[in-house]
């Protein structure tokens, strides 16, 4: 279990490093505006290829400022993270409850196989 946790932490660390490295190494320094969105760059490329192209539809709702936009993005991430956390919390609680119920019923720690079959039935 402890080894598992260590591997999980290493995975998170690797993801964090991948995100921080481009910033730390200054890989955006050659640009006028470093680290803009790639979709914005694509829009620029489109107007380079076809200077006459005009977007023929604009978003129905546009966040009035960068702050509001980042708030809505955080809301999206928070909603997702909340559901994920609920899922894993619920699972963990259920497993603990089942283990306790088994221990109570038999008077001794339940063997792994019995625990698994109840997990499947639920």
């Amino acid at each position: 279990m402890r080894k598992n946790t260590r591997i999980n932490l290493l995975l998170l660390l690797a993801v964090a490093a991948l995100a921080v490295l481009p910033l730390a190494l200054g890989l955006g320094d050659h640009k006028k505006e470093p680290f803009t969105g790639s979709d914005g760059e694509a829009e620029t490329a489109i107007t380079e290829i076809e200077p006459d192209y005009k977007p023929w539809f604009s978003p129905l709702y546009e966040p009035p400022s960068g702050e509001i936009e980042s708030a809505l993005f955080s809301l999206q991430a928070a909603l997702g993270a909340g559901v994920l956390a609920y899922y894993f919390g619920l699972r963990r609680g259920r497993r603990q409850g089942e283990r306790r119920a088994l221990e109570g019923a038999t008077g001794n720690p339940a063997p792994g196989s019995a625990e698994e079959s109840t997990a499947e039935r639920s």
């Binding site: 999980n8 803009t36 023929w56 966040p63």
Partner: protein, 233 residues
Amino acid sequence: MHIAEGFLPPAHAVAWGVASAPFVVHGVRSLTREVREHPESTLLLGASGAFTFVLSALKLPSVTGSCSHPTGTGLGAILFRPPAMAVLGTITLLFQALLLAHGGLTTLGANVFSMAIAGPWAGYTVYRLLRRYDVPLMVAVFSAAFVADLSTYCVTSVQLALAFPDPGSGFLGALGKFGSIFAITQVPLAVSEGLLTVLVMRLLVQSSKGELTRLGVLLAEKQSRTETEAVTR
């Protein structure tokens, strides 16, 4: 990053919408069947959708000096097959198009095709192939998520190159241009997505063995379980 609102000519926008619609309709059907037959999988379905929600909200810096975000569609494609992701991905894209002015309604068809259809199918195909040759589960999961993420942005590049071929170098020239914006930026992000998907799959293996077995992700266990079931009966 998705194609921005209004940035595909009407004919292309309609064509991609027509191409995507049957996949989404089929996805809705297979999803409702899955929920009706296995109500217990609703929670895990929600968690897969939530994973896509989180990952596609994370704009991360990349080696090209620009930012993009992962898609998170590989996990759900492995667990519930790609049709489910056609629906969950479309929901995510709709949320971003309506509230965040990210992507758009006129480009929804094209973006659904790249993120909710092509990506999941590419990732799922890689996953099945690797599993057939007994590649370890986590290696297959990483590869599937990596491919689902990267192929999404390759398809986006193709879509834009089709709509805006370069006047000098034509379709291929434009593909190189859009590919260097989207696909190269995406490579390290696809690695991140692969690692995060492995992390979530590890947590699922710990917490939801029964569910993963029923979905066929843990195959070896399934055999031993049906054996033990046969014995107990």
